[in-house]
């Protein structure tokens, strides 16, 4: 029984708890032991919250003792949380030195919702600093390795969450996605990951990177597990004014593959896509063509402008969001290292760029931020600055409208859009870190989805030399229900074929 925990789904674990085959504390200890045994090699966790987890598990066992039948399906299920989501009582670093010792003062809304379901929090997972990157190599603290091949990256920025799920160090995890940061690591690590529609999940308690693009989402081993977690965290939140009412909650919908209209955008299968990855995705598409789906060639003409558009808009929003890290209210600060009254003979205007006050900011941020974060802040500052705002930022916002319209046009003809998640297989650690632009190109198939605010799921559909290939399903706003129903069909088809390439 104990040895099999790693292969069990949320529903199976729930049944086991209700039937008293094992206790929540036993389940929690199993995962804590797995972390102990595996994480030195993988590096998925930044901190393990042993005490919190065991306390939560004990409470679940108490509930089971008194009323097993009313136990929520997620009760006692051990999970891991990306370290840019606040859990009160635990450190929250956002993968940055500047928040190395910061203690979360409140729970994110998604955390409160998971707490009300009585999940068990095993710990916080590694990420690229402030969610900027595509490999988790930008973390100020450690490298996370891809559990499938330890010489390769797990993807990013939710690399720790993806690696933890993939290596069975937790049952599910939460990540965040601004330009692909759930979907790409899910693809690289061979797990399922969902970026919800913009506004579907509250961003309250998520360390903000780009506020018009960020979303929190689940990562898990199966589509059903992902759906269960999504259901728990979705919903309007008065504390996030961009959160939306998702009108129809997930019901058991009858989605049939026959005559389902699926769009294959030609721009996502063109130059830049690794040949083998493209072929393996096309093989999967043929599977449901055989089952009667209507596979239609479509075009998203402004696709090639999505990445440049993203790398103007996201850094701009980041430069504003990261202005709060100034060494005054929290975080690592240089304030104690800057002596007051050192320049009595110079008439420096207080508040001027050379004043001690400003020096607190400039030195704190210089020491606290890593190179990629600085790059994006500088880029954002530039494109928002007077004289350049119209030519860059405003232009990018207009291109964003065109990208959104491309999707609206295509969704008049099809119900889902299918693409690869990544143009290439997981790359080697260190391979792209020296070349920022090369790293940015990892996101070519994922960023357009954030720009348009659409929901998208990444799921493993096969292997090439043991490395996982991920398929991306994109749907209309708030059609997560459709995505899950379709993804379950694909999951069955793929496993029945056991595709390897």
């Amino acid at each position: 029984m104990k040895e099999d925990f790693g292969a069990l789904t949320i529903r199976q674990l729930h049944q086991g708890l209700v039937d008293k085959d094992f206790s929540a504390v036993e389940l929690c200890n199993f995962y804590l032991d797995e972390i102990e045994a595996k994480d030195k090699k993988i590096g998925a966790f930044l901190q393990v919250s042993r005490e919190m987890a065991l306390n939560q598990a004990r409470e679940v066992d108490y509930s089971i003792f008194h009323a097993a039948s009313s136990l929520s399906v997620l009760a006692g299920i051990p999970c891991a949380i990306k370290d840019n989501i606040l859990i009160k009582g635990l450190r929250c670093t956002a993968g940055s030195k500047i928040l190395k010792d910061y203690n979360a003062v409140y729970n994110a809304t998604c955390i409160e919702r998971l707490l009300s379901e009585k999940v068990v929090f095993l710990g916080k997972t590694n990420l690229d600093e402030f969610a900027m990157g595509s490999s988790t190599e930008n973390s100020a603290f450690k490298i996370t390795k891809n559990p499938i091949d330890l010489t390769r990256v797990p993807g990013g920025t939710s690399g720790g969450s993806a690696a933890a799920v993939a290596s069975d160090q937790c049952v599910f995890a939460l990540g965040s996605d601004t330009g692909g940061s759930i979907r790409q690591p899910a693809s690289f690590c061979g797990v399922v990951g969902l970026k919800p529609t913009y506004g579907a999940v509250s961003r309250y308690g998520l360390v903000a990177y780009a506020s018009s693009l960020d979303q929190i989402g689940p990562l898990a081993r199966t589509v059903d597990d992902c759906e269960i977690v999504f259901n728990a965290i979705v919903g309007k939140d008065p504390r996030d004014s961009t959160s939306a009412d998702i009108k129809s909650r997930i019901k058991d919908s009858e989605l049939r593959i026959k005559n389902l209209r699926i769009g294959i955008p030609k721009e996502y299968f063109a130059e830049g896509l690794d040949r083998e990855v493209g072929e393996s995705v096309k093989k999967v598409i043929k599977l449901f063509e055989k089952e009667g789906a209507d596979v239609i060639d479509v075009s998203l003409p402004n696709t090639k402008y999505a990445l440049p558009c993203y790398y103007i808009i996201a850094p701009s929003e980041a430069s504003a969001n990261l202005a709060r890290f100034d060494g005054i209210r929290y975080g690592k600060s240089e304030i104690k290292n800057i002596q007051s009254g050192r320049r009595p003979n110079e008439l420096k205007m207080p508040g001027s760029v050379d004043s001690e006050l400003i020096e607190v900011y400039t030195k704190t941020r210089e020491k606290g931020f890593g190179p990629e974060v600085k790059r994006r802040i500088m880029l954002g500052t530039f494109v928002l600055s007077s004289g350049y705002y119209d030519a860059y930022y405003l232009r990018a916002q207009k291109v964003r409208t065109l990208i959104r319209r491309d999707f609206e046009d295509v969704f008049r003809k099809v119900d889902f859009i299918l693409t690869p998640v990544s143009p290439f297989l997981p790359f080697k650690l260190g391979e792209k870190i020296e070349d920022p632009l090369k790293m940015y190109l990892s996101d070519i198939y994922t960023v357009s989805v954030n720009l348009a605010g659409l929901p998208a799921l990444s799921m493993p559909v096969g292997k090439i030399n043991e490395l996982s290939v991920g398929l991306q399903l994109i749907a209309r706003p708030f059609d997560e229900q459709g995505i899950f129903a379709f993804a379950k069909i694909i999951e069955q088809l793929v496993s029945s074929q056991s595709l390897s390439f």
Partner: protein
């Protein structure tokens, strides 16, 4: 778009980043490359196009301007993390002389 050393220094001041010499040089190079790449947006015909700041159409959210208990955090939890504090105050360098 030419990225000069002076531009980098000016941006660093705006961004409140104390970049050292080495960083300034490599930032010059990186920004040049990235801006050359995003310049491809100049190809796009944006005449008559409205900018998108919100991908999903939303309405303003209002509530009565009244304090709510559930919005309060323990003051000490917040202030105890201040890099420099004086009682219940965050301490800063002089702003006015």
């Amino acid at each position: 778009m030419e990225i000069t050393k002076e531009l980098v220094e000016r941006l660093a001041k705006l961004a409140r980043l104390d970049l050292n010499e080495k960083e300034t040089v490599s930032m010059q190079k990186d920004l040049s490359e990235i801006l050359a790449y995003v310049d491809s947006l100049n190809e796009v015909d944006i005449s008559g196009i409205e900018p998108t700041s919100r991908s999903i159409i939303q309405e303003n959210v209002f509530r009565a301007d009244e304090p709510r208990k559930e919005d309060y955090f323990a003051r000490e939890d917040i202030i105890k993390q201040a890099p420099a504090r004086d009682g219940d105050y965050f301490k800063v360098k002089e702003i006015f002389t």
